[in-house]
């Protein structure tokens, strides 16, 4: 198996096609035993998800899901989000597919000089009491990812609207949104308990926002001003 360093964990997996290609920046020399060995049953994933176009996509999604479940054992989970780094911190923009996550983060890169951490499924881990965000090979169709990890600065849930506005979400509203875009379909009770514990910690430590936005540059300015604080 090939060795990769993802989210500061030693990961072994044998992959091909798109997964292999997107994992390339994470390849490393094996040092000691792996923390995680990833496998998935491509045939079974195809069977359960007949809408998948081919085995390459099934492997990409199956390995991503396996990694997400394994992360739970390392104080980690993931969020379906486009993540950028600005001033040394990660800002995540999450929403159902098609809302405009990547469109929004492209503005952060162009206007503020932010860089992409991950464009689809960044990993989140609690390391020495600090929530960190990491790039992963599961970085979406444009494969925008950076293998590094930086402290998590904020999470915004995006929705389209007529005006640009941003507000802090109370936990009652934040929980369903976070869960619906994170690890949700777990079969074991212990995994769900762990996921809820991690969600609890994230929601207590990290500012969670709701960003209502038009698809314009002003939306990014409104978001940045609130999420980075006025300096």
């Amino acid at each position: 198996m090939k060795r990769y360093a993802i989210a500061q964990l030693q990961v072994d997996m044998d992959v091909s096609g798109r997964t292999l290609q997107q994992a390339e920046p994470y390849a490393c020399e094996a040092e000691g035993p792996a923390d995680i060995i990833l496998t998935c049953d491509i045939g079974r994933i195809m069977e359960l998800n007949p809408q998948l176009p081919n085995e390459e996509v099934a492997e990409y999604l199956g390995m991503g899901a396996a990694f997400a479940r394994e992360l739970l054992a390392f104080q980690g989970t993931y969020l379906h989000a486009s993540a950028v780094i600005l001033d040394g911190k990660a800002y995540l923009f999450s929403a159902p597919s098609g809302t405009g996550k990547s469109t929004h983060t492209e503005k952060w890169c162009r206007l503020f000089g932010a860089t992409y951490l991950n464009d689809d499924k960044p990993a989140l881990r609690l390391v020495d009491g600090v929530w960190m965000a990491y790039g992963t090979p599961w970085s979406g169709k444009h494969d925008l990812s950076d293998p590094k990890g930086v402290p998590l600065g904020g999470i915004a849930f995006l929705r389209r609207g007529q005006e640009n506005s941003i507000r802090r979400l109370p936990s009652k509203e934040a929980i369903p949104r976070f869960m619906s875009q994170s690890l949700w379909r777990v079969s074991q009770q212990a995994q769900m308990e762990k996921q809820l514990m991690l969600a609890d910690s994230i929601l207590r430590q990290i500012p969670i926002w709701e960003l209502t936005c038009r698809n314009d540059d002003d939306a990014a300015r409104v978001a940045r001003e609130a999420m980075l604080g006025t300096i």
């Binding site: 009652k172 929980i175 369903p176 869960m179 009770q189 769900m192 809820l196 929601l203």
Partner: protein, 91 residues
């Protein structure tokens, strides 16, 4: 009706939620957050209940009007039914 045992009540960042585990998780597509009243109703649903018994319990505990209590019960029960969090005995 009573709780579907595949659903758990947990507290996340100060908010009570009901989440599915196992097979229920694969089919579930939403999430229920609870206030104090609905958390109490969920607790009662550990054993077999009807809209009537739940309404009576709310009236007794919170000193609310019967009609208001019944409204709350019906609204919560329909939410639970929607996600399959309660099971009904065959009559």
């Amino acid at each position: 009706m009573k709780q579907n045992s595949a659903f758990l009540l947990r507290e996340v960042a100060g908010t009570l939620v009901i989440v599915p585990v196992g097979k229920a998780a694969a089919e579930f597509s939403g999430m229920i957050t609870l206030n104090a009243t609905s958390a109490y109703l969920w607790q009662l649903l550990e054993t077999e209940q009807t809209v009537q018994t739940l309404t009576d319990a709310l009236v007794a505990r919170y000193e609310v009007q019967q009609s208001k209590a019944q409204q709350d019960v019906e609204s919560f029960v329909s939410k639970l039914k929607l996600v399959g969090a309660i099971t009904e005995d065959a009559q």
